[in-house]
């Protein structure tokens, strides 16, 4: 029991956050980081299935998917993209703040991130409502009579395939929104924990790893936006 126990005692004295099975904080931090990156890989594979379905149907029914895409409001999509990019910046600033021991600044930036997350969800709510009103929600009330505007030329499309587009739209943005909600929850929790003094310049690994998660959710949106909103927009 002698050696490692003594080291453990020293380590505990050095940092109360050190878990017993790690030799030192650096090992713990590296392990946590690697764990988070691996988790992000699983998230990429998870969304990957949806992207795969999208790719297949886009290649099979391009006109129909384009017609569906053209009914989405680019304005909202673009604003949401900007919102998320800014929120990723605020996350980085929050991490930077805690690295310098500035707890209050950290909380502020985390709070802004949360607010931006809610803005994103609010805009999505507006968009979903619009789709509901236009009867573009897949299911028994789905109704589509538009065409695919190919640079002025109108190409007819099969409403069933357009419904496929909207199925993918709701599945992909819905899954993304679910991840946003989880992210907001995590950021809020971290803000509270920071306020309670849990984090400092010596220990802020959870904030860093949560930041990675937030960035991934942001990146996924950056793929979703052009794939869903910008199919064949030439104007």
């Amino acid at each position: 029991m002698a050696d490692s126990h003594a080291t453990a005692v020293e380590a505990v004295a050095a940092n109360p956050e050190l878990r017993h099975h790690f030799a030192d904080m650096e090992q713990q931090k590296n392990a946590a980081s690697l764990g988070m990156w691996l988790f992000l890989v699983t998230e990429i594979m998870f969304f990957g299935g949806l992207f795969c379905a999208y790719l297949v149907y886009r290649s099979m029914h391009f006109a129909a998917l384009a017609a569906g895409s053209q009914t989405l409001d680019i304005k909202w999509g673009a604003i949401n993209t900007a919102v998320l990019i800014v929120s990723s910046v605020t996350v980085v600033l929050a991490i930077n703040a805690i690295q310098n021991g500035k707890a209050k600044t950290t909380i502020a930036y985390l709070a802004i991130t949360v607010v931006l997350g809610f803005v994103f969800l609010g805009i999505k709510a507006i968009e979903y409502t619009n789709k509901f009103e236009e009867n573009h929600v897949p299911g028994p009330h789905f109704h589509f009579t538009g065409t695919f505007d190919d640079n002025g030329k109108e190409i007819a499309v099969d409403p069933h395939h357009v419904e496929l587009f909207f199925s993918l739209y709701f599945a992909m943005t819905g899954m993304h929104a679910l991840h946003m909600i989880i992210g907001i929850g995590i950021m809020s929790t971290l803000a509270v924990m920071t306020w309670r003094g849990r984090f400092s310049a010596q220990y802020y690994t959870p904030i860093e790893n949560a930041g990675l998660y937030w960035h991934l959710v942001d990146i996924i949106w950056i793929y979703l936006f052009p794939l869903l909103y910008l199919i064949s927009r030439h104007q």
């Binding site: 029991m1 699983t42 594979m45 990957g48 028994p140 199925s167």
Partner: protein
């Protein structure tokens, strides 16, 4: 091997080990000790194994006679579905990683625990939650789609509880992902000083490769399940051709996980076999580098072959040819392992202890299973035998003849470490024999049945009474196999109370796990080991033993 039991009155003052470190229910249910979690998994996985086995018994009993006379066809369809779902998601995928893997990975690399002990506990609770869901599903009607739940039958035609069953698999999938994640981080970041990658036991290499597949593949089946549920709930048309969707897309997404999943099942058992062969030949494995890297090769190539389940599904001719070609590639690393294990026996010092018998059995049965996989990879033959009992026989040879034999061999080998007791060798050998004989009698006739044309998932074959003889043989074998599986349950439990106490290294085997007490203390080692030796250093061990004998005698 001389008796390894220590008479009770000569045991030195016992220190606390992981089993005696707290007896309350809370100390077990809220444990973060990887060894206790492994035991929790062992109990729950064994329970599901017997449940899955119960459904197997229903199937075999029904198939004794050509007519569908034991149960209604719907019930039979639910029986084989539950058998498949439980065996795949709740037994085969977690059995070696979550029990032997959880127990041994930290100890084998000289660590005190896995990287994320609380996530490890979460994994178990997710498994229990998933298990609870599948039990509830089963008790309130069950599912009848087959474990492969193909659309559009599963999305638009069946009235059984798809969403609940899908949810159960989804949750169990996350249990699997977290286990894999934990192992990868642990193996990367927590190896003892001096333990380089080239010195790792092959079991660790195998677990590492398995974990890669777990984290890359499982999320894809997760999203597939979500899409099926969404399609059922909201009548969307993602996989429904009447609404413009493509049923083949489901199959591609499903098999993209489910093929690598079979490598999740077999790789850990292959890791076990490597350990058994070395320990019971007292030899470093032949071609260590090749065996280690073959695990990684199987993991990687395994992701490239999924559509060999779809040769007659309606994919293009050229796609079929590509996947057939790639499938032959994945057979090569498996063959490399078998040859290396066999070569390890050469000039070894071979013991016939029960674990080694299971290893021998594995080599034989996995070779047959793997070779019949080549039959299925061969396009011209696959057209005839796919969706028949030939496939059923093939996958049971690799899953049962492979995974389960490996698991049982590992359980016997590490039982003294896990429980601190020795199992009764005589009964164990008998069970191994029963398992081997029962298994072959159950599944070899099915190869013939398949080639003769008996399709899978048939409750009734009254128009083809010529199939009965082989079915009866198969059921007879299953009865023997069942006994072979029940006996270890009984004698392992018996040994907990009446078995002789085991010393730290009853097999005189190499490996860090044998350098700590049986059972180990909660933090595994009294002192963190510093590794200066290669894996399977039997030369050194025997040398040390000789020195000790010289000193003593």
């Amino acid at each position: 091997m001389a008796s390894a039991a220590i008479p009770a009155n000569q045991i030195p003052e016992t220190k606390t080990n992981y089993l005696t470190n707290g007896y309350s229910v809370k100390s077990w249910l809220l444990t973060t000790d990887h060894k206790r979690i492994a035991v929790l998994y062992l109990i729950s996985i064994t329970a599901f194994f017997f449940l899955g086995g119960f459904f197997a018994m229903l199937i075999r009993l029904e198939l004794l006679t050509p007519a569908s006379d034991l149960m209604h066809a719907d019930t039979y369809n639910k029986a084989f579905t539950m058998h498949g779902m439980i065996m795949v998601f709740f037994f085969l995928i977690p059995v070696v990683p979550a029990t032997l893997g959880n127990f041994l990975v930290p100890i084998m690399i000289g660590a005190k625990d896995l990287a994320f002990p609380r996530i490890n506990l979460l994994s178990w609770y997710l498994y229990i939650l998933g298990g609870g869901l599948i039990l509830h599903c089963m008790l309130t009607g069950g599912v009848d789609t087959g474990w492969t739940f193909y659309s559009p039958y599963s999305t638009a035609f069946t009235n059984t509880k798809i969403i609940e069953a899908g949810l159960a698999a989804f949750v169990a999938g996350f249990s699997s992902i977290f286990t894999g994640l934990n192992f990868i981080v642990t193996i990367h970041r927590m190896r003892a000083p001096g333990l380089t990658w080239a010195r790792l036991p092959l079991f660790i290499w195998a677990q590492y490769a398995t974990s890669i597949i777990m984290i890359l593949g499982t999320p894809v089946v997760a999203i597939t399940i979500v899409l099926v549920a969404v399609e059922r709930l909201f009548h969307l048309g993602i996989f429904d051709p009447r609404l413009g969707g493509d049923p083949l897309l489901f199959q591609h997404l499903f098999w993209f996980y489910s093929h690598p999943a079979v490598y999740i099942m077999i790789l850990p058992s292959m890791g076990v076999i490597s350990e058994l062969i070395t320990a019971f030949s007292r030899k470093r494995v032949f071609g260590y580098r090749f065996v280690a890297l073959s695990s990684i090769a199987i993991a990687v190539i395994g992701f490239l072959v999924w559509a060999h389940h779809m040769f007659v599904a309606g994919i293009s001719l050229y796609a079929a040819m590509i996947f057939s070609f790639l499938t032959f590639f994945v057979g090569v690393p498996s063959a490399i392992k078998v040859f290396n294990w066999t070569a390890t026996l050469y000039k070894g010092s071979i013991s016939y202890a029960t674990p080694m018998l299971y290893a021998f059995g594995f080599i034989g049965l996995f070779t047959i299973g793997g070779l019949t996989g080549l039959f299925l990879a061969t396009l011209g033959i696959d057209v005839h035998v796919t969706d028949t009992y030939f496939v059923v026989a093939h996958f049971h040879y690799v899953m049962v003849g492979g995974v389960v034999m490996g698991f049982l061999g590992g359980m016997h080998f590490w039982w003294p470490k896990i429980s601190g007791r020795l199992y009764p060798e005589g009964w164990a050998k008998l069970s191994a024999l029963l398992v081997f004989v029962g298994f072959n009698l159950t599944f070899f006739p099915q190869f013939i049945l398949g080639y003769l044309g008996m399709p899978r998932r048939y409750a009734d074959y009254s128009q083809m009474p010529e199939f009965q003889v082989l079915n009866v043989l198969s059921t007879a074998g299953a009865s023997v196999l069942a006994v072979g599986y029940l006996l270890p349950m009984i004698y392992f439990l018996w040994s907990l109370r009446y078995g002789p106490l085991a010393e730290a290294n009853p097999w005189a085997a190499a490996g860090l796990e044998w350098m700590t007490a049986s059972p180990p203390p909660t933090f595994n080692f009294d002192e963190t080991p510093v590794v200066t030796w290669e894996a399977y250093n039997y030369d050194e061990l025997d040398h040390l033993k000789e020195q000790k004998e010289v000193a003593v005698g």
